[in-house]
Amino acid sequence: MEINFTLNGKRVSISTEPTRRLLDILRDDLGLTGTKEGCGEGECGSCAVLLDGRLVNSCMVPAFAMEDKEVLTIEGFREHQRFKAISKGFEKAGSVQCGFCTPGFVMAAEALLRQNPHPTEREISEAIEGNLCRCTGYNMIVEGILTASREGDGLW
């Protein structure tokens, strides 16, 4: 079927199977490999993107649900001013180790800060509960998002 949606601010039109996963459309059809596959069952958040501003696991989104939706991936978001604040926060806090989960956490941070520009540590922990990281123990990611919210005060 033919699917039309907005990807990182640009209209795209693709022809695909209705049940094809958004994750495969992004990675294999469009070459946007910043979104990672960690589990393929919506458990780890490595494939997280924003769909109409909401954080979703792209491995759980079928093509037919994409019509007229707006998708933001790490490739689009990294051009944004708010990304710079998150990046700075992650750098200062040491939030990145192996990096495989990182794009997902960046998108989760953006989704949270859009809703709540000044979250507490607890609110951050809750907001990233759907993203798994095996390297950091999470506290340095929480700290990174907290730092981003301060560094980027006014951007959200």
Partner: protein, 711 residues
Amino acid sequence: MVNIGDSVKRFDFDDKVQGRAVYTADLWVEDRIYAKIFRSTRQRARIVAIHLPKLPEGYEILDYHHIPGTNRVPIVYDDQPFLAEDTVNYYGEPILVVVGKDRDVLRRIMSEIMVDYEDIAPISSIEESILNPQGYKFADGSNKIEYTFTKGNPDIHMEGGEKSFVDSFNTGYQEHAYLETQSITCRVEDGNIIVHGSMQCPYYVVEGMKKAFDLDESRVRVIQQPTGGGFGGKEDYPSIPAVLCALAAIRTGKPVQLVYDRKEDIIASTKRHPSDISIKSYLDESNKITAMDIDIKLDGGAYAGLSSVVLQRTMFSSTGVYNIENLRVKGGAYATNNVVSSAFRGFGGPQSAFAIEMHMENIALALGLDPLEFKKKHFLRDGDLSCTQGKFLNGIKLDEISASINETSGYSLKRRSSEKDKELLKGIGFSIFAHGCGFTGAGESEVLKPKVRLVKYSDGTLEIFVSSSEIGQGTQTTLGKIVAHELGVPLERIVHKYPDSKFCPDSGPTVASRTILIVGGMLQQCAIEMKARWDEEEIEIIRTYKSPKELSWDNEKFIGNAYPEYSWGANVVEVHMDPATYQVEVDKIWTVFDIGTPIDLKIVQGQIEGGLAQGLGYGLMEEFRIRDGVPMQNSLTTYVIPSSKDFPQPEIRLIENPRKYGPFGGSGLGELPTVGVAPAIASAVQNALGKKVSRIPVTPEYIKELIDNGN
């Protein structure tokens, strides 16, 4: 960078945060085809016949006959086939490789392959192997790999009439659960095999290629891509997907991607060895331990692989941080028809740390003594010998470590007043531990003979060429800092890319907490030599490791320095339990480590916090069980690893204690945080319940069992 420990921006930071880092599955999106592995669905069986479906054009199915060289993974014991031959020996063992363009078609083909099996009675546990030693054996004809070593004269004391205390402990499997599953891509170019992959040890993969395809090293090139976590799970294992991917690439002449899905990764990749450890201690009238008798049993799984080396480390770690004058340690790694057990952060250390720490606490409690005071009385001190009679090259600071953690956590005071908290199911626990850094015994200088290469170009840029991989632990950055700091050049002048066997010598595997100590130490030596020749326009220095003369090792009797160096640490953990669900909540974690000189404080913090979380997961929640040969957990939904809401931020302190041979006094860190925290949490639960915790993970089900029946 005034001090080497001052944190810098990681070399790999920008690429990773921007999603630009190219992991293996991100390569060659345009023109690659795919390989999938068809696996055994039986625990142990003879393969009677394989029925293949009619294949569409461009699709192929390959079996072990297609491997032109040796169908065995080369690693310590070369006994594991890349592809099963006439039998399968564990559930999930690879049998066939299916290759082609479309993954949906591959899935359909896989579902249409039929195998006729003739089941063979399996050996499912250590106990079954002991009862039936002929039941299943490793390729060397034995049902176990076993060692014994002694120190002093254990028997004199064991025959005496003194007080003795016995405990038995049991630890479970642990799955690495790196976020990036096993991933390899491979292509053939001018007859040469080029492998890109997610891995810790590029030269292990080189070795695998040489053996499987009967090739000269010059025909094989292995390049590590950014790697989404390893933790030991990408030490020896990647040789299997690498060879199978290369097989498909050679056969088809196309670039091939082989990426495991999460289910097959959990089922078929290696795990931490389950263990049964019993310890008997003999005490004199002053309540001092005079002798110990330790018996260690590991479930090695279907193939021996690295089990002998893991077993050795479990044995060499078995007396923890205590000076035991008279000792006997027996160990066995058993052949079972279970998934292959292998390397996992700590490499046998966590099993031993759990057993010895709980045992020491149990003796103290039975004697009505303060556990910390009882442990302190037995601490290794300067001049003491290790359990293998090795001299420690540096000052031992266990008293300082325990004083520091006691001061920051208030452990002793809280423990004394914790009696009244029992009804609230609150408890506090303590552990103190060490981890040997570097290869076992004389392995560094006699087995590995690691090399490093440092180049200065005419424009003043310096490039590091080592096979040590960046798997998230910060190797690129920390090794870069060591060179820059020694030469006094800005860090921006250092280039340190991912290892490529075409340019990087074999610096040994990225394991055993050896990268800073050994590889970093050699790079520092290169930099010192380079400094003396600094006026030369272009300089290339290659160095091979030489072991310090003070170290000695007898690999038959296990006498001498089991490891070139050690790092040390302690944990205190406070917990409470939900009285209805028995869910353990960790309220507070303190940690004090002696890792010599920290090479980058932010990276050190990351290793400590992440390692603690992995150790807490091991101690509390991560459960992988095999029932009737079939893994009961096969997803991240059923194999639960810690999430952001599980553990509080630990309070970390470092003790400065520069090492004689480490670069700038640095020692190993990667494994230490995972080694010692499980006993702290088990001790806290034990304290809360007033019941002996003798196995991990301490799940709510186990706690209920203890409350109902424990003593």
